[in-house]
Amino acid sequence: MRVRPSVTPCKKIEGVVPMARGATAPWPAGPSERRSLVTMDGGIRIADAAVHRPDRHAYFHQHENGLPAIPRGAGFSFAAASFGGGAESIEMTAFDRVIDFDTRTGRVEVEAGITLGALFEFLTPRGRYLAVQPGHHRITVGGCIAANVHGKNPARDGTFVAQVETVRLFHPRHGCVDLSRHEEPALFHATCGGLGLTGIIVAARLRTLPLPGTSFRIAHRQVAAITEGADLMAGDSARSDLAYGWFDCSRRGRTHGHGVVVTGQFLSTDEKGPAFKLPPSRFSPKRRARLPIALLNPISIRLVNTAYSWSLLRSRDTVVTLAEALYPTRANELYLSLFGRRGLHEYQALVPRANLAEFVAQLRDDATRASACITLAVAKPFNGTPDLIRFDGSGISLAIEMPRSAAANRLLPEIDRLLVRLGGRPNILKDSRLPRSVFEATYPDCDRLRAVLRRWDPQRLFRSELSERLGL
């Protein structure tokens, strides 16, 4: 890997003046705030984390020495990817600009702190959109890159890295460097899905697609089992703009895994009318955890699931706005809040299609034996290639949720063992507890990332609770 020895002037942002090499100003620089930070699942809480919130480009001047740090976006991760591990968090939300937009190619250059919602409001009136987006519009582009998130149809659209052309990365030791598949490719690939461990993503150039319409036609089909849903999704994913399955796992016996497969396509006619403005949301991990007690228990979960299933199947075909289709988590904020302060466990496993039936059957048996209450499972088809520590590959992703409890603590190690045995991989960003041994067994490429990090940053300036837990 070739490492550029000096600061690269930003291509579009003129006038970045690098500090002289050898400068010894402390870093992270600027005022910091002491704040309590918590993961979205409520699993990790730090009462007195140091957070910086720079808002000037002078921040990206070069400093040789520094304290451990980690970049932070909206902080929506279920794992402590943006705090902990003795690092100071650097919140990038003030860097929220659209720097350039090519109307001919649709390529857009943005700063890392811009939210998906702000980018949506910019792109939609211009007839473009991002094909791969996670479910909440307050998540930042920098966070999407660092987590290499997936969208509504990963089998067809891939993961977030598929639409990233260039990344501008800052590391105090190296200054600003521009990365792409052609320029510093090893560092580019380590940064996309690298959990912020290579440095601070300052800006990125993204590919966008022409927007076929601003409304979505959604079809709901009832299925009797997760495997049946997986077959339906696999068949439909190539011709769908959205494909996922929702399954009720709160029931025991033959009705376990009854669910609904949801597929959707853009409508060329705007039946719902243009909806370029998103509703305001103040949702955050702290707000999710405001209820002092969990209101979800085996009885209420069944009621909630029955009501949700009924609401989906009431209208088998429905038309929703683009915003509703792209950012469904906005509608699930209340559901997530019902887990209360104690929180939830989410276990997202990418399981080879051939082993899905065994995984589901064993999961049901293990949950019964542990008396654990799985609320639901959400499935999505994947058809990618695993690389480094990205959550990608070929198979069905199954995300299950359950309230935090002793029973859940008994069940989760069983799922770990099952997943390792069946050749699957867990999403490390959805599980604030995942042990290092399971991570290493399911991500054999992790040593390659460790090698890149050692060469690029021998002092390992960037770290988090997540990276320390996984030994990255």
Partner: protein
Amino acid sequence: MSALVFGASGGLGRALSRELAARRESLVLVARDSADLAAEAAHLRTVYGITVEWMALDASDPRAVEKLTGLPGASAIRDLFFPVGMGIEEDDGLLPPATIAALVGSNLTSVMTTISLFLPGLLAANAGNVVGVGSVAALRGRSRNVAYAAAKRGLESYFESLRHRTAATGVRVQFYRLGYLDTQMSFGRRLRFPKASPQAIARAVMRNLGKDIGCMPLPAFWRPIGWALRTLPWRIYRRLSF
């Protein structure tokens, strides 16, 4: 017609620039750092499709602002915004002369000099807005920000005079006495009263644009606090430590 925003690269200046851009007003942005200005100008051009010029200058040197008249769009400027302020921790009355000069230059003299450059054009057009931004620190002098509070109180007096001078014209002069703002200056500081978001203040400024409001405290809860502070007898005030 265009607007000039001093201190446009961060905080209230950035928020005001975006509000003005949303109204499709051409802008001239002024701040210290060229990288921030270039990025903000690129954002406003790309998102709002407006004309944006920018100039990086050090406002602590009042003579530096004279360069503004050389900008191509200078003659079309009708709205002037000064959301600028420079404060330092050690402002206890014992600052060296050069620091005092820089502090007064940034907070007062540069604003006065800039207005003097553009006011003739506004009066000739019989239209425009001049918006100054002060601080609750100027309500009453205190030992922790001696020079800053003096400069801001001077600014308040200057804007009152300016309002009187333009009373019979179409030029509106407004002054906002702001409480704590959620900016880099206050980040991490434990303050006695809530911080207002720059975006909320910018929206309030936009709503009032063109109105003869004189001096307005923002957020509004600072009005009774200001009254209480001003009427507090000296024998009590002198014992306060804040």
